[in-house]
């Protein structure tokens, strides 16, 4: 909301600071001035940002009260809100509060014989400065009322009211045309101001069209009331009507101020439009609601409690009893001191429904004293520091993947339903959102691979063809009754593939992924194996594998299935991995052990064999390891050749160059023993069905 300093100063004749300093001091006390502009009426216009709990400061008099407390200067009483004597005798207007749990107070007064015209004078001047749209003098008077003192009021065309006022719950399905011209269908939880026949307005939110003040209006009923905050908030939300009135009522208006607000508005209407105050001010109060608001019981405040919470001040004096009394009194509290106990009984101001407990008063003291006048101290600590049990595993995962060229990314927590189905595990279940951000974000991600596929697509669609990413994050399974969270890991690869002597261009991305997983899992203790069993459907058939750590599945990886790739318009091969990182977080890290390095020469021998495609590397490796030659230090495939024409190597078979390295820790190897081992290896490979090439 906006505040005019000229208006403020009318309540603060002794204000000792200029507008700049005032803005700063208010801001430092939580009454934040976000912007300062020249005001057309003179002085400054402050753009305020006032926290929702301080509805009392969302008006000029409220801000003035804060300034009075800060500087210790007097706050002028609101003379315009003083009682008004009737100028024409008459009966008070009949008012009945039917919904006495929702409306705590209702004041009504009749003004007869007005001439509706535009506002002049101070109202017009302030409204121009505030860009508040002028409507007509009576309506402007009600707006001036809340701008001045925070209390929304309403002016009815008295002649449109049939019988007396009834404050009641709406009838379900009841129709009401509001001031904005729209017709609303009400529900039984809405509160309406009605007459004997019909609803006149949506209480606390917006007045009705039919009973509005028009140029023809001659007689006016001025209303100022107090409504239950939750009810007004619900109505405001239900009808998507956020008004200046609802903003204030839903945060808790001042129960005590209704008559004063009615007086102020009445006085302004008569000044602007003439007319007679007819009969007394009717003021219906529901005591049960008064007891919850204006007539709350005093609360106890002790000096030691203030000091225990607030600590040391910059001047070293701490917060004294005098400081507490000065600030709280200025804010409208009434303090009666029990000197012996060093405590007070504090009667709370009716406009501060946010104050309920001792701690609220502690905060008020700190706030008005000034937060920045407290010292910077550091607490002593005797507790223990507890390390997260899996923080080193998490760091190792990140460091390892970064070390081999994968960058960390973060994707959305939500996936589309079809993604949850395609990438999730039906047995583990998936969790739907109740109010999804969009149709594409209807489920909690059961896996990180869909997000990874989305990120690969993001890059490819922006002509970034070469991508290496990983994501470490939470995956969600279970049901809407019980959600299970676990840490997941996805790895994504696309682009920059060149055939090697071992891997063809088609397969090289798969092997890059396998290598990444091998490198990662090698950081953990346990035996790593791979197979192609039970692969999920998001992996293209025949193009994926599964990694197992000590026999338990831990990662699934392979080329994204063509259906998924097409859905995402991916025109190049993407290889993804889904890793159960949760297992790794609790797994033992591999403890490196150093061994002696041989001083003796290593001898390398190559074996070129042709095998049928059905013979896999694992069989070859285990056959050679099975020879139990301790000096056989390394076995590696170095070249694979297939001849698409089937000439050099027959179709259905491949030529494999295997390299072995012999080395002894304690001696130079002799030609004879190498020859023996060579022979055994040839025999073993031949036994596997291999044919040695010339």
């Amino acid at each position: 909301m906006n505040i005019l300093t000229k208006w403020l100063r009318s309540y603060l004749p002794e204000l000792p600071v200029d507008d700049r300093q005032l803005a700063e001091d208010l801001t430092l006390r939580g009454i934040a001035v976000e912007g300062e502009f020249e005001a057309s009426c003179g002085g400054k216009l402050y753009e305020m940002d006032i926290t929702t709990n301080r509805v009392d400061a969302m008006n000029h008099y409220g801000v003035a009260r804060e300034a009075a407390a800060i500087y210790g200067v007097p706050l002028k009483p609101l003379a315009a809100a003083d009682p008004i004597a009737e100028t024409q005798p008459g009966a008070g207007f009949p008012v009945r509060i039917e919904a006495d749990d929702l409306c705590g107070r209702f004041t009504a007064r009749i003004i007869r014989g007005v001439t509706v015209r535009p506002s002049t004078g101070l109202i017009a001047e302030y409204f121009t400065a505030l860009s508040q749209k002028p409507i007509s003098a009576p309506v402007d008077a009600t707006n001036f009322g809340w701008l001045a003192m925070g209390q929304p009021t309403h002016a009815f065309d008295l002649d449109k009211i049939e019988g007396g006022i009834v404050v009641r719950r709406a009838r379900a399905g009841e129709k009401l045309q509001l001031l904005d011209g729209t017709e609303r269908t009400l529900v039984a939880d809405d509160l309406v101001i009605a007459d004997e026949k019909k609803a006149l307005g949506l209480a606390g939110v917006m007045g009705g069209w039919d009973s509005r003040v028009t140029d023809e209006t001659r007689n006016i009923l001025v209303e100022a009331a107090w409504f239950d905050p939750a009810t007004i908030r619900a109505s405001s939300r239900r009808h998507l009507l956020h008004t200046d009135a609802s903003h204030r009522f839903e945060r808790g208006a001042d129960f005590a101020i209704a008559p004063a607000a009615n007086n102020l508005v009445t006085r302004l209407i008569i000044e602007q439009c003439g007319g007679d105050v007819t009969g007394p001010l009717v003021d219906v109060i529901i005591p049960a609601l008064a007891a919850k608001t204006a007539a709350r019981l005093p609360i106890k405040l002790s000096v030691t409690e203030v000091q225990r919470h607030l600590g040391t001040t910059l001047d070293g004096e701490g917060i004294s009893a005098e400081i507490i009394e000065r600030f709280l009194s200025a804010l409208g509290c009434v303090l009666s001191r029990d000197a012996a106990a060093n405590t007070w009984n504090v009667t709370l101001p009716s406009w501060r429904l946010d104050l309920e407990r001792e701690i609220d008063l502690v905060e008020e003291v700190a706030r008005v004293y000034g937060y920045n006048k407290f010292a910077d101290t550091l607490p002593t600590f005797t507790g223990t520091v507890i390390e997260l049990p899996h923080s080193s595993q998490e760091s190792i995962i990140r460091e390892t993947l970064r070390g081999i060229g994968f960058s960390e990314a973060i994707s959305s927590t939500f996936v589309a339903e079809h993604e949850a189905t395609a990438f999730g595990d039906a047995q583990s279940g998936v969790v739907a959102m109740g109010n999804p951000l969009s149709e594409e974000a209807g489920m909690l991600r059961p896996a990180l691979t869909p997000g990874m596929a989305t990120m690969l697509a993001h890059n490819l669609h922006r002509d970034v063809a070469d991508v290496r990413l990983f994501e470490l994050g939470t995956v969600f399974t279970g049901s809407t009754t019980q959600v299970q969270e676990a840490t997941g890991l996805a790895i994504g690869i696309t682009g920059a593939s060149a055939a090697t002597s071992l891997h063809s261009a088609n397969d090289v991305l798969f092997y890059e992924m396998k290598g990444a997983i091998e490198t990662l899992l090698a950081k953990f203790s346990g035996t790593v194996t791979f197979d192609a069993a039970d692969l999920p459907t998001w992996i293209e058939p025949g193009r994926g594998a599964r990694a197992l750590l000590d026999g338990a599945p831990i990662a699934w990886f392979g080329e994204l299935a063509s259906a998924e790739a097409q859905r995402r318009k991916l025109r190049q091969t993407c290889v993804l991995a889904e890793v159960k990182a949760a297992i790794l977080l609790t797994a033992k890290l591999r403890q490196p052990v150093s061994r002696d390095l041989s001083r003796f020469q290593a001898v390398q021998r190559d074996f070129s064999f042709v095998f049928a495609d059905t013979v896999h590397w694992q069989q070859i490796a285990s056959a050679l390891n099975g020879l139990n030659i301790p000096e056989l230090q390394r076995i590696a495939p170095v070249e694979i050749f297939r001849d698409p024409k089937g000439k050099a190597v027959a179709a259905g078979s491949y030529s494999l160059l295997t390299r072995v390295v012999f080395q002894s820790i304690d001696r130079t190897l002799t030609e004879e023993e190498i020859a023996t081992w060579h022979e055994r290896i040839v025999t073993a490979l031949t036994t596997l069905g291999g044919t040695q090439r010339a």
Partner: protein, 369 residues
């Protein structure tokens, strides 16, 4: 090319040195002009040729006639010369390489790919480590929370706007459950404060990094997914001035010792008194610039003293769980603070669109390599 073999008058060290120095100089000189296959072949024949090769001649002329005691010293020099010849010949390589025998040092080096730490993750880790050094343990909690942990225990009234589905993402099918058991995406890391206090008695200090979600439409500064770091310090006689001192110290540790802090009253349901903290602008040092909107200050943190209602909710829950209600509001006090990691990251690196943090865009990430 020379074919003469110098005469060796004696085989003493000086003569040998002189003779081999001359030969070495000759090899180097000739090697300079090896620009064609013919020249290389001539060089090879001159030194290594089987018949006229000078090394062979030297071997024949000198090694054979050398006295026994000089043979070793001569042999060492001879081998060095032979190695030099072979080295020079090998260095010529093939014809293509010879034409470009000098390096273009302005060509880019081989591109090595290194994985990039996500700027959010690194910023979050840095913030956490500042507090770890101040004796804070790290706490984590679930991203799907119940209303109890996310709202009720943190003193949010039942009809608080934050509870509305307009602000909070909720899990489907919760209506049949009691309000406190309904599942939602946590909107802040504060539930971990409660979870920690249920498990541990005071004194405690924890720092809580984590991912949170809100029902916000995505734009340049809003993302439905974002990250917070939260802290909690509870004990006897923890005061507001301790909160001020702790955050002032932490901000200096994170942004540099020249940074100043100032505190403003604010409002959070779970702290009282509550404050917003500004730091002096890290870009202009407080003079005022575009980044701080010419105020000299940047808003960075929310904080406050733990509201006694939170301790009471913890005590109540502890009793329900059969634990002692050890958070006696008459003795125990504490402070909590929280900050948005995304905003700090964006400010630190000048990132203009929060969406980039969640895009996996390689062009974006590789800037942080």
């Amino acid at each position: 090319m020379s074919t003469a073999i110098p005469e060796l008058s004696t085989f003493d060290e000086q003569d040998l040195d002189r003779a081999f120095a001359a030969l070495t100089a000759e090899v180097r000189e000739q090697a300079k002009s090896l620009r064609s296959d013919e020249a290389i072949e001539a060089f090879r024949l001159n030194w290594l040729g089987r018949k006229q090769g000078r090394l062979g001649q030297i071997s024949a002329a000198w090694l054979k006639s050398a006295p026994v005691e000089a043979k070793k010293s001569l042999g060492i020099r001879f081998n060095a010369l032979k190695a030099l010849v072979e080295e020079q010949r090998a260095a010529t390589g093939d014809a293509d390489a010879r034409t470009a025998s000098t390096l273009d040092v302005t060509l880019p080096g081989t591109a090595h790919r290194i994985g990039v730490e996500h700027p959010l993750i690194s910023t979050m880790a840095e913030i956490v480590s500042v507090f770890q050094r101040m004796g804070y343990s790290v706490g984590l909690g679930p991203e799907v929370e119940t209303d109890f942990y996310n709202f009720e225990s943190l003193n949010f009234p039942p009809n608080h706007p934050a509870r509305d589905t307009q602000d909070t993402l909720v899990v489907a099918g919760q209506d049949a459950k009691p309000l406190r058991d309904r599942l939602l995406m946590r909107t802040h890391t504060s539930p971990v404060q409660i979870r920690t206090m249920l498990e541990q008695a005071p004194p405690l200090r924890i720092v809580i990094p984590g991912k949170v979600h809100r029902n916000d439409a995505a734009d340049a500064t809003h993302s439905p997914v974002f990250h917070q770091v939260e802290g909690l310090c509870v004990g006897t006689d923890i005061t507001f001035s301790d909160l001020k001192g702790t955050l002032d110290h932490a901000m200096k540790a994170f942004f540099g010792s020249a940074v100043k802090t100032r505190f403003f009253p604010s409002f959070f349901p779970f702290t009282e008194p509550s404050a917003d903290v500004q730091i002096s602008c890290i870009f202009c040092g407080g003079k005022g610039c575009r980044k701080c909107k010419h105020s000299g200050w940047i808003e960075l943190l929310g904080c406050g003293m733990v509201d006694p209602a939170v301790f009471e909710a913890v005590n109540q829950r502890r009793i329900e769980l059969g634990r002692d209600p050890v958070y006696d509001t008459k003795k125990i006090s504490g402070f909590a603070f929280g900050m948005g990691v995304d905003r700090i990251t964006m400010m630190k690196y000048g990132i203009s669109d929060i969406g980039l943090l969640y895009s996996g865009d390689m062009r974006f990430l590789e800037q942080f390599a």
